[in-house]
């Protein structure tokens, strides 16, 4: 028995672009989808985590729910970045059939509100991923996705690049609590797609008084061990207002 349906608004959905960083590349959290095309042929592909919104929740609340079900986390930073409402974004026969099965109702046009979340790729976060058939896919290995989800991811990336300039602290959401200067630098490099001079970058880090050098160093590497740094949110908030 599905008791959700009468509560859902089947015109509006939220989709979440959850981005992580593995030290080398950006990855996006995607859900495996199995469906049937026109001819009854089974296909496998992937989609963004998302959901129709319920009548009793706000947009932000719906996005939070989706992310919470998936990762078990409560207070993840979610940013609404764009609405997608092309009139034929839900017109692909594959998608139509899949939607009708998933929602057990005829679904017409759906406008989706897209959210971005930057998270640490972590054991804790990965708790429920198997249940949801979810996977961290490297950004440059993402194939054709359901609906207009490739477009949504593209727009999400544009959004991050702009957002970082105004709120650099969001980068530290992507890094482990303890990180090396190299990790931070590579993150900048993959995000903006260009190389950064090592020496100048170190100087830059030194000037960020919210990036604290720790007395802890890498272990078990066969070369000089790198120092760990941590991000201090309190200092950041003070010096930015």
């Amino acid at each position: 028995m599905e008791h959700k349906m009468p509560l859902a608004n089947n015109h509006i959905s939220v989709d979440c672009v959850v981005v992580g960083f593995d030290g080398e590349r950006l990855r996006v959290l995607l859900i495996r989808r199995i469906g049937e095309d026109n001819t009854g042929e089974v296909f496998h592909d992937m989609k963004l985590p998302g959901s129709l919104i319920y009548m009793d929740e706000d947009l932000d609340g719906a996005a939070m729910r989706v992310l919470n079900e998936l990762t078990g986390f409560k207070n993840v930073n979610l940013m609404q970045f764009k609405a997608f409402g092309s009139k034929d974004r839900t017109k692909n026969p594959k998608d139509v059939r899949w939607l009708e099965r998933a929602e057990k109702a005829k679904v017409e046009r759906i406008v989706t509100i897209a959210y971005l979340s930057l998270v640490k790729i972590d054991r804790a976060l990965n708790k429920n991923l198997d249940n949801f058939q979810a996977e961290w896919v490297p950004l440059d290995e993402i194939k054709d996705l359901a609906f207009d989800h490739n477009l949504i991811i593209e727009e999400a990336m544009k959004f991050i690049r702009q957002y970082v300039e105004f709120n650099p602290s969001c980068l530290f959401d992507l890094l482990p609590r303890k990180f090396t200067a190299l990790q931070l630098r590579v993150l900048y490099e993959v995000l903006f797609g260009k190389q950064i001079d090592v020496r100048n970058f170190h100087k830059k880090i030194m000037m960020m008084d919210y990036v604290i050098p720790m007395d802890e160093f890498q272990q078990g590497v066969s070369h000089r061990a790198a120092r760990y740094y941590k991000f201090d949110k309190k200092i950041y908030n003070k010096t930015r207002r």
Copy 2:
């Protein structure tokens, strides 16, 4: 007879924050609204121009239509900046009654996609304003508006301030084709709410090779006449890519 209704999606609307600059202050284009509250009392207030979306149009298309009906202009630069979907944004009794009359149907929750447009306050643009009971209201004189439109305008302003940094050309959408250095400076000042040094600002203008000094000067002023400048979009596009 209303033939629009069956074509409209009464869950999703667009609202346009149309911003102009009169040389001193920013102004927002608002529509006068007359309604009845619970007790049958008539009230007057204002709202943003907006509309439910039709089934056969995209979000951008709907926003374009609203703006075109209002100003008669075709190619205005419209930027989607945020979706507003609080579950009680259409719950105020005033708004509920007004909506039911305007849409001639029971309307539940509406998610609105908000657009921002920066335009020249111009004779041409003002052609249809009377028909629509529309008015250019100075930003700092805007009273309580319908729905959550005050909130939408607030968010629009935050958006502009960020947007200008990445695309300064949008400022020239607000200025006349010929403008003085003073106008451009005041625009910066009201937008960012702080004074700018005159000399340094002139130097900045000189460095923008897409701001072209003209051989034309102010007329009929009882003091030294200011030079006019114009914005060259071609040069701008070249030097920004």
